[in-house]
Point group: none
Chain length 207, copies 4
Amino acid sequence: MAEKRLSRRERERLRHRKEILEAALELFSEKGFHNVSMLEIAKKGEFATGTLYKFFQNKEDLYKALVLEQSDKFHNALVQAIEASDDEVEKLRNYVRTKGDVFRANVSMIRLYFAETRGASFNIMAGLDPEIRERYGRFLERLASVFASGMEKKRFQEIADPFHLATAIDSLTNAFLFLWLEAPDQHPYPDDPDIILNILFKGLLGR
Amino acid sequence: MAEKRLSRRERERLRHRKEILEAALELFSEKGFHNVSMLEIAKKGEFATGTLYKFFQNKEDLYKALVLEQSDKFHNALVQAIEASDDEVEKLRNYVRTKGDVFRANVSMIRLYFAETRGASFNIMAGLDPEIRERYGRFLERLASVFASGMEKKRFQEIADPFHLATAIDSLTNAFLFLWLEAPDQHPYPDDPDIILNILFKGLLGR
Amino acid sequence: MAEKRLSRRERERLRHRKEILEAALELFSEKGFHNVSMLEIAKKGEFATGTLYKFFQNKEDLYKALVLEQSDKFHNALVQAIEASDDEVEKLRNYVRTKGDVFRANVSMIRLYFAETRGASFNIMAGLDPEIRERYGRFLERLASVFASGMEKKRFQEIADPFHLATAIDSLTNAFLFLWLEAPDQHPYPDDPDIILNILFKGLLGR
Amino acid sequence: MAEKRLSRRERERLRHRKEILEAALELFSEKGFHNVSMLEIAKKGEFATGTLYKFFQNKEDLYKALVLEQSDKFHNALVQAIEASDDEVEKLRNYVRTKGDVFRANVSMIRLYFAETRGASFNIMAGLDPEIRERYGRFLERLASVFASGMEKKRFQEIADPFHLATAIDSLTNAFLFLWLEAPDQHPYPDDPDIILNILFKGLLGR
DNA sequence: GATGAATGAGTTTTCATTCAT
DNA sequence: GATGAATGAAAACTCATTCAT
């Protein structure tokens, strides 16, 4: 696109920015915000500390940029997944499969993502990322509408509030991917999305 | 029990220790490990900094002690919950209800708990708490055995691996309690455990 | 007075505060605000950097405390000087003599004082010290009233506005003391206040 | 004059140098040496940082060049003023009037000038500008000779050493112009030089 | 000659930890 | 045992200066 228009200098600048973010991603996802120093990031990216500050106003700004960019990628993939088909079951299957794929391909990114949407968010960013929270909320609504439309078409039973079901499938996929993330040997990656989906689809109590 | 045996000195010491941990709990759960200073804890507990070091080797040690004690309470309550009845459905209902009760009664403790078992655990404590992890794993096994025994008795359908179901119910309860924790107004506390349980009990796909 | 009431700890604290300010005074007056580092002050005072921050919030705060305390001393001496006698000429003579005495005894303090009420004030402190400015203004008014009362009593001719005369005597004394400060050999200290006062008292144009 | 001889290149160079100094003057006089960065000057002058270093070896060098050029202008005007007439009283009147005019026309320059000859000089430039000091001294001598010649001609009374009188008139004019500079509303610009001169001319003590 | 990205030494500031009283 | 003043290492951040393009 317009990229051709960028001067070499500008292209280099962008590349450097990207390199800094890559170094930061690896370090932050591994050790957390407070256990990574700017010097560390600089060294890993093979820059001087001062250089980081040419790209980001301060440490928090760098962190925020990173989290925003990464969660962008994640969300875009998931949104596409639930829009790829017209069939509600297929949408959910797609969602589970895509989430797993992105998960496996970007473990660092995921660590960061969870640290933000779950636990550490109280701590590190405490309200620093309302954008992300909001987008996450909007995505859940979208997921809820899949359940709602399935119910309207009588494909799904009305066993719970659609938003609750969205919350449920989200947390279930997270939990299973977590198992795999923490102990890939004991809990092999669930290739078949139905392993997860069945828990929602089939009732524990028969009939 | 043996408490009677403690001298006044020892009783005072224990009380002081408890007071420190209480101050620390509130602060850590609110602001996270790195955003709380020893001075802050000392002031909140009305001690001198030096005194904290009479009770705990260092900041991490204090934090760890706190997390261990709190997760102890939590786990004990949950273990009791699933052992209070012989009926599997009742065990699960008890589990969900108790978890919610403890949750509501100890929001600070819970914030800490999640920060540890979820997100931030990669970060802040990264492997600092294998004890907790292990106990958490053992509890999941115990929960799995509830599903397994339910299946044996043909009360439950064999829709998934029992451990997976344990993981599922754990993550579902967490997710719902999270909703409440973050926005108590929008997501009122689910008094009826069946709101959560139905998602597992009834299948989305009828029949 | 109440000093007896201070515990040894408190007395030590005050002594340390004083020592820090002394080290800072020497350095700031010699090299200026920006050319002195906190580490330098700490070393000169034989403290650790952190200690400085126990007494002062930050570098500016330390500087301001110093300037305030020093200008306090200076002003108090001058106020006393113009109140020691009832005779207007004697008041002025006292003022010039006292200013010179304080000046000679506290060269570092004076450097700081001038840096604040003159030149550098635009720069370094730009409006940081309205308190000092104001007090300086109030002192000039007081000095003006000496001229005014002298005129009323017909001791002084009405050659200029009293406030202007106050400004004049202030700037004249500064100028002469400056000469001495910069080159004590070429411009020996004016022991006789009348050398300065004559310029105001006797007219250049006779009669 | 020789300017015609300069190639276009050289003329451009000189123009650039001037533009840099203008940008620097405004910034330095407003915020002081240490609170202005080279980047700031470069941006204000619409140059790249590197370009500044083509014209000046370093920041101090740029500052010094600025101060020298500005004080040049100032001194030249004052020297002309005291040489414009043969009458001593007229010389002094001219001096006071011209100083005020230059003052009013170049407030930034004046700020810089005072910061150098007064207060901050200890600090920022500490001995960096012996040239300026010396020239200032030589000017005072010249001014002193006006008083001396006035005394010889019996126009002036011998109320003080001529050099002291030069110092006096210098400091008096500074003081009055300062009043105006700091609060132009309260202390309107002294259009009539005699307001200042009267203080020297007429004695406070009559007769 | 001009540019401006990169550098890294230097500064301010924080805070876990120690230890004399 | 308790205290809290002192410590100093470590971190964030700035900016004069250089140099490849």
